[in-house]
């Protein structure tokens, strides 16, 4: 069987419970905003193939359960991930504070040199914003490679654009790395 893609990437979504990881992945893979959330237990999967510079990139996204208690299980899935997307909720300060802990988990469990992407979700709820963009910039400025963006999961139309744009950046680096290695 001929391969339907040129590159295969494993991406992982992590972040506190309820920040909208599953919602984001559904938006990304199915271009669909689902209002009936269901909590993720363990792990969920989504696939999407994107075209980048004429190459077919197949992304398999691993969507993890957010509850702290599941960390012992979910950290096992960090291995082999080429990109990790850290998600927080801009209306929930705690979810942003916990990004530090998630970063630590990455350091301890993921492959060295894994690409990281910080993502502030629920930008459509600007009125309830608790985490300012500058805060995120400042706190994670040391991670120069990381991309900061805010995405409104709910907004259709261009709501899809931010994540996919930035995932591309993230993947391109991986592509380079793969070709080097």
């Amino acid at each position: 069987m001929a391969k339907a893609y040129d590159h295969l990437f494993k991406l992982l979504l992590i972040g506190d419970s309820g920040v909208g990881k599953t919602c984001l992945i559904i938006r990304f893979a199915e271009d669909n905003f689902n209002n009936t959330y269901i909590s993720t237990i363990g792990i969920d999967f989504k696939i999407r193939t994107v075209d980048i510079e004429g190459k077919k990139i197949k992304l398999q996204v691993w969507d993890t359960a957010g509850q702290e208690r599941f960390k012992t299980i979910t950290t096992a899935y960090y291995r082999g991930a080429m990109g990790i997307i850290l998600v927080y909720d801009i209306t929930d300060e705690k979810s942003f504070e916990n990004i530090q802990n998630w970063m630590k988990s990455i350091k301890e469990n993921a492959s060295a040199g894994v690409e990281r992407l910080l993502l502030g979700n629920k930008c459509d709820m600007e009125a309830k914003r608790k985490v300012q963009k500058e805060q995120a910039d400042k706190a994670f400025s040391s991670l120069a490679r990381d991309i900061l963006l805010k995405s409104g999961g709910r907004r259709s139309g261009n709501g899809n654009k931010p994540p996919s744009t930035d995932l591309k950046t993230c993947d391109k680096k991986n592509t380079n790395k793969c070709s080097l290695g």
Binding site: Y37, F45, R69, I73
Partner: protein
Amino acid sequence: MMAISPALLFMDRNLLARKQSARLDKHNDLGWKLFGKAPLRENAQKDSKRIQKEYEDKAGRPSKPPSPKQNVRKNLDFEPLSTTALILEDRPANLPAKPAEEAQKHRQQYEEMVVQAKKRELKEAQRRKKQLEERCRVEESIGNAVLTWNNEILPNWETMWCSRKVRDLWWQGIPPSVRGKVWSLAIGNELNITHELFDICLARAKERWRSLSTGGSEVENEDAGFSAADREASLELIKLDISRTFPNLCIFQQGGPYHDMLHSILGAYTCYRPDVGYVQGMSFIAAVLILNLDTADAFIAFSNLLNKPCQMAFFRVDHGLMLTYFAAFEVFFEENLPKLFAHFKKNNLTPDIYLIDWIFTLYSKSLPLDLACRIWDVFCRDGEEFLFRTALGILKLFEDILTKMDFIHMAQFLTRLPEDLPAEELFASIATIQMQSRNKKWAQVLTALQKDSREMEKGSPSLRH
């Protein structure tokens, strides 16, 4: 179901009328602008009724608004009144009369249509009759089962529950009206939880919720005073998860009829077992129990269910023990489905990928709810072993599809099973799964593996944390 059917029949009839009028339109574009109005498609029913009434008035017959009941009868004994009205109506006086030839042609066309329509109606009626008979048969067997459970089994629970007859009946699914009672009895109350204890735990949870909602700083200080093992703090997460429990049912969400019950049970449990606390997945289990039991009884069943060794291992996220369960599962996986097992191994698809969700929620999230309840029925009868047997039954049912897939497609398939998974086929598949490996039963395999892992831990103390 019975209540809806007249409406359905009515709709069918309506559709038929609409089809006919549409066809008539085609036959003669000019002739059917009767009474100066073309029947609107959306109003087909209304129009045909109006026309029927006018015809009946002319024919000197009494006109009654058709009741749904009459409709059912009419459906079986077809009288195309509206069509008659249209066809046999003479042209209005201000237009030239129909030539005899044309009138004859129309009459013939009309008769053909009636014959066709009658044929269709008859076929439809036969189909419906068959459906109704099937439904009656199912309802009767459920009715009989309810009687047997209520009159014979439940009063003599201790002596009867493990008899061959009861076990067979149990496998076929417990009727919903006695399901809660049977589950309660089968799960038992080893923990001796009383309704009073539930009230006490609930009061404590409410107190915590109140303090959570009043002041953030105070709560933080309070939290700092608790040891790390105390999981009462997970109370906060409950609120978030309740709205994400069976969202499609729309009964557990804020304002829904079961929202408070679900909230209460999970809160009370968190205060009853602060060392376990609330763990995601619990909301689904509590929700299924609420659908079958009163609040306090659901709490008792919930606490006792979670106290079973397998559930305790998972909800305390005892990773080592969970791995032992997965290893035991793999023993039976290889035994029952060697080809698929090899395929999974080749693709590095480990059981945790799909089993975590299935075991944590006892299939209530991954299978259609009525089917999940049937799994629960037998799980209450056979214990944890049945959860793993079910997993193998699912794998076997989809073996052919799965062997053609790669890792990610298998993972995706298993974490989101087909929504129309057929109950009878799944149970037939589960029935073929042997829970015996080299003369060892599930419990023996599990114990042996547990012993192994304990010895390994002892052997290499450096691995202990």
